[in-house]
Symmetry: C2
Subunit: 241 residues, 2 copies
Amino acid sequence: MDASIADGRAAGIGRLAKSTLRERIAERLRAAILAGDIAPGSSLTETALSARFDVSRGPLREALRQLVDEGLLVTVPYTGTHVASLSVEDVREIFSLRTTLEIFAFDQVWDRRDDDFRAELLRRNRVLIATIDAGDDRASISAELAVHGLVYEAGGHKLLQHAWQGLCGRLQLYWAAHHRAHGRRGPRRDSHDSYIAAALGDDLAALRSEITDHMRRGVEVTERFLRDAGLANVGKKGDMT
Amino acid sequence: MDASIADGRAAGIGRLAKSTLRERIAERLRAAILAGDIAPGSSLTETALSARFDVSRGPLREALRQLVDEGLLVTVPYTGTHVASLSVEDVREIFSLRTTLEIFAFDQVWDRRDDDFRAELLRRNRVLIATIDAGDDRASISAELAVHGLVYEAGGHKLLQHAWQGLCGRLQLYWAAHHRAHGRRGPRRDSHDSYIAAALGDDLAALRSEITDHMRRGVEVTERFLRDAGLANVGKKGDMT
DNA sequence: GTCTGTCATATTGTCGACAATCGACAATAT
DNA sequence: ATATTGTCGATTGTCGACAATATGACAGAC
């Protein structure tokens, strides 16, 4: 059996993603929500969305349901669906659970860290710093999540990764609201140095307390912001671009 | 403003669940899957299910999608949806994540344990023992999950509770497969005594190691079972009752 | 003046039918 | 005989229309 095109060795020949309409709709909608194009609390009408995307209401509804399960939307039967708006308590929950999961993720991967892991972590950190220096808030948020996401991916723990995806979405949702209401937000340039150092080091206990501190700092910023801004974002109307 | 019925102080006055067809379908299907009425790996055809439930394919598809998100079903576009069948690695993931989450849950609730908590925990444990003595495997599984579930409920941590729900479903799915293939399974009568004692005690570190041991015992039974049985459950056909 | 009952309208929930795609079998060429 | 290709039935994906429900405004009674 000689080499043929079916072997997939040729560049660019691989499984191409079979896209259903539902997936593409969910993708676009999620991107729009996480980018802050739709304000938390604003209501989404199915007919309007189906007209905008030029699709039927069937796959649109399935996409909405999926985003509901991801925690990005809330829906009350026969009434409507709204973009979820997080309370300060919700944010506290996100960070507390994230602390636990991230420590667990490092526990899983600690003895399996290899050169590839270290190199990739440093690479993502460089990307993060670059986006921060460029002043690109949106990209720096994604870059920060990519840095933290590596440890979840490296462990090969599918369930853990799934949980991280859920937290990821909610975090972006909050940051989008923060950015929208508070102007520029970007993570500070050096806020991750100690985190990276601990992640590459050999002291697991030190890393654990570093993660805990890292999250505490995050939730402190959050609480200060939310207390100042009140809950003004609830019920505010928004529109997609 | 004096007290009126609108205040909701009266017993039994609260938001009553408005049921959509989708929710009821998801409920029934989930129950059927978790009870083991549909074997893991068996395929579900939408038309057959819609005919059986006497509903259209619209709400049925939404229910299926919801169960996919819960990890009970897997679906490949244009091909079909199957009841998820867990590999030994999946079960290991479930127990490892559950260990972490349950310890976290106790961390959250530890200083807030009151008499109600203790009484409820003992009550659920008595129910568990009663169902075990009665030889009712299905009920004893639910009772065991209820015992462990209390700490997740008591913390008031919505995100944590959501994660527990997800684990709960997958656990029941595995146990249903176990029960189906292995005959009676029930938890041993005294396997929870030390757990309950530690949960009611004052030594958090002891509880942590107790939880770890408890889960390790669970995963050991699992691995032994799955190694003996092979992966014979994959692809096996089943039918609803 | 406040409350209650009614109605109009907009939005969601549900249904049945059509189109796109997949998996398997048969036909065919080498 | 084997590998490739064309075809067919079955199943899923998508659509447009209809029914059920919630929300708000308005008229009428106490």
